[in-house]
Amino acid sequence: MRSDVKTWIGAGVTAPVRLLAQMADVPLRQWQRLAGRGGMIGFFLLPNMLIFGVFVLVPLGINFAYSVTGGTAVFLPDRSYVGGANFDRLLDCTNHFDPNSCRDDVFWIAVWNTVRFVGLQVTAMTICAMITALILNSKIRARAFWRAVFFFPVLLSPVVVGLIWRWILQRQGLLNYLLYQFDAEQVNWLTERGWAFTAAVGVSVWAHVGFYALILLAGLQAIPRDLYEAAEMDGTKPARAFWRITLPLLWPNLLVVIVLSLIRAVQVFDEVYVLTGGGPGTSTLYLTQYIYEVGFASTLRNSGVASAASLLMGGVLVVLTLLQLGLTRWRDRK
């Protein structure tokens, strides 16, 4: 009886789908006869390509067009053609390692801040994600609960993350309150340059580590247990097992983690913007915030320079993506 009901419900659910499939079958067969196999591939790819074109390629083209124009007008036809002047402004430096020698010093401050942030954040992220994954993969009590706890920040909006940590780290925040309770010296975490930079890196790691730990955890769980058992029988110490078994077999996942976190770190904006506003001074001003401020936040918005800067940043991201593809192919060949 129960089986009959299930069949009846199943038939009811699939009936409309089957009906649609039958309706589409005749015209699709006709189309396949006309267009051949290659035509059908194009037909099925067309919706995706259309969306990709409208939302990625067209904006990219518009961005390029804006980057060679000047003025404050919003619409392209109202803007004057300036050729490479916006790129000249950004790249005009006596010494690129010294932002003060550059015409647009703030752009180069943002570039070097981003480089420093990426270097430290990706390293810290990879190490923290690895440690988290190893702990969550071990036989600990309430393992599922801890996995959820570590993943929870990933679900939070970056603005919420920034606000929470701002409340903790500001002059009269929770952390200074705790230090006060223990008679320790209070620190102005968000107005001291070194501390603000460390806070930006730390908060970013805290917010995303759960995601990367999950990738590594999946890799850890795919490593056959018998390898560890064999190593244990041979008297291999845990540290050696980690270096000789875990790390080599986890390398594909680790590569994904490094490249993804690298790309994401280059694009850092929201949580750091809410946390520090780019300060103190410009010590946590990163490339995306520079583009936002030049293109949107200043009174006389400079869409041309902002577009040029975003193209340069896009170029860096393309290089990183190609690096990921190259490494993936190299790994597959091995």
Binding site: G70, G71, T72, A73, V74, F75, N100, D105, V106, I109, Q170, R171, Q172, N188, L190, T191, R193, A196, T276, G277, G278, G279, P280, G281, T282, S283, T284, L285, Q289, E293, F296, A297, S298, T299, L300, R301, N302
Partner: protein, 423 residues
């Protein structure tokens, strides 16, 4: 039967009413609030709609940052609300609607709002684009209770910035305050003090003049006070670019004995401080040349991209009415910009806070101290470019990223870059 007829009549009336609402013209009004004015304007607009059922005013209450950052982009794209409350009134003047053809009595506007009309229209134009919802003046506030507890006398009339900072530093040291004083992070806010030290932003050709000795004098002092821990570091240093940061919460929480902001904070301070402590408005401390604050305010302007200019003009005429302006000022504790209201006097500010009346009176008397260089700024189109460069470079100097000389050179370059781009 009777019940059925009643039901049918009710249904017909409801349908007619809904049809009427559907036929009403929608007028969108974008509004931001510093204090209680959002509630007051909502109340006034409800009364307008009750009197004018053919117009439906939709009040969009937004954050000030939306007005500052998003509205200009909408306007530049030829879109936006029908009416907006803005502070960057001159720089965006090309987007405002000339309401002359739609006003029933343009002479009323010229008489009562004419002296500030240039603030909100392109140079050389005689357009009527809106009116100031309130006049503001930058100035200081002191926590009288903290001064009293510290046994430090409040500096009197004509006291200089040095004297105010020194007295506040004594209070801060005595009371364990976070700093002696704070100024909002804004180029606008430090312009009154800059001008008090002889600063002038406007060149002979109407374009921005290079940063002069007067501006350098006050900015140098401000950076030194920050380095010494007298100026609250959090406000200016903890952001980059031209981001606006107010220090009102630090004053409200009694973290600083002296706060330099402006008259628009009166309602905010009164509401949030309550009877927590006594506070007084101080006017602007003196520099070497004057004791000038910077006049300004928020304007309600009609946007020229509106599809229903007649309806917009009717809403504006209602809000600019003498009795409405008077009520708005009394309930919001704002200084009115309506000549008739000012001349008639007798404003009965709605507050039980004894600090408010004295503070407003102080701002009114301080308005007589505004220097000519400061009085010219609200109607000067490059003021915002100047303010932005000041804020971003001063905070870099405060953070120790560059010397003051480099900061001044960069300010000049930034301003020139912006002018070149806009011309």
């Amino acid at each position: 039967m009777k019940t059925t007829i009643k039901r049918m009549t009710a249904a017909t009336l409801t349908s007619l009413l809904l049809a009427g609402t559907a036929m009403a013209e929608d007028v969108r009004l974008m509004w931001y609030s510093d204090g209680v004015e959002g509630e007051v304007i909502a109340d006034l607009l409800d009364r307008f709609m009750a009197e004018n059922p053919d117009i439906n005013v939709i009040l969009d209450n937004v954050a000030y940052q939306v007005i500052k950052e998003q509205l200009p982009i909408s306007l530049a794209a030829g879109e936006g609300p029908d009416i907006a409350r803005v502070t960057d009134i001159k720089a965006l003047a090309e987007h405002w609607l000339d309401m002359r053809p739609y006003l029933s009595d343009a002479a009323y506007w010229e008489t009562n709002f004419g002296d500030k009309a240039d603030w909100m229209r392109p140079d050389g134009s005689d357009a009527i684009t809106g009116f100031m919802t309130q006049l503001t003046l930058t100035g200081g506030f002191a926590n009288a209770t903290l001064f009293e507890q510290a046994g430090v006398a409040l500096p009197g009339e004509g006291a200089t910035w040095d004297e105010w900072v020194e007295a506040s530093a004594q209070v801060a040291a005595s009371q364990g305050s976070a700093a002696a004083f704070a100024i909002d992070r804004s180029g606008h806010r430090i312009s009154g003090p800059n001008i008090s030290y002889g600063g002038n932003y406007i060149g002979a050709d109407g374009l921005p003049a290079p940063i002069d000795e007067g501006t350098k004098a006050f900015v140098t002092k401000l950076v030194e006070w920050t380095n010494e821990g007298k100026n609250l570091k959090d406000v200016w240093v903890s952001a980059s670019g031209s981001t606006y940061r107010a220090a009102a919460d630090d004053f409200i929480n009694a973290q600083i004995p002296f706060y330099y902001s402006g008259s628009w904070q009166v309602a905010n301070l009164s509401t949030k401080i309550g009877d927590g402590f006594d506070w007084v408005a101080t006017g602007t401390p003196c520099g070497t040349e004057s004791c000038s604050g910077l006049a300004g305010g928020a304007a309600l302007v009609a946007v020229k991209y509106t599809q229903q200019p007649e309806a917009v003009a009717r809403v504006m005429e209602y809000l600019a009415r003498e009795d409405v302006v008077k009520e708005f000022s009394e309930r919001t504790l704002f200084l009115p910009a309506h000549k008739g209201v000012v001349e008639a006097g007798g404003l009965n500010f709605v507050t039980e806070d004894p600090n408010v009346a004295a503070a407003l009176a102080k701002f009114v008397s301080a308005s007589a101290e505004v220097a000519p260089n400061a009085a010219a700024l609200p109607a000067w189109k490059w003021a915002s470019a100047y303010y932005g460069a000041l804020a971003s470079r001063i905070s870099q100097a405060m953070a120790g990223e560059m010397s003051l000389d480099d900061a001044f050179a960069r300010m000049d370059a930034d301003i020139k870059e912006q002018v070149d781009q806009a011309q």
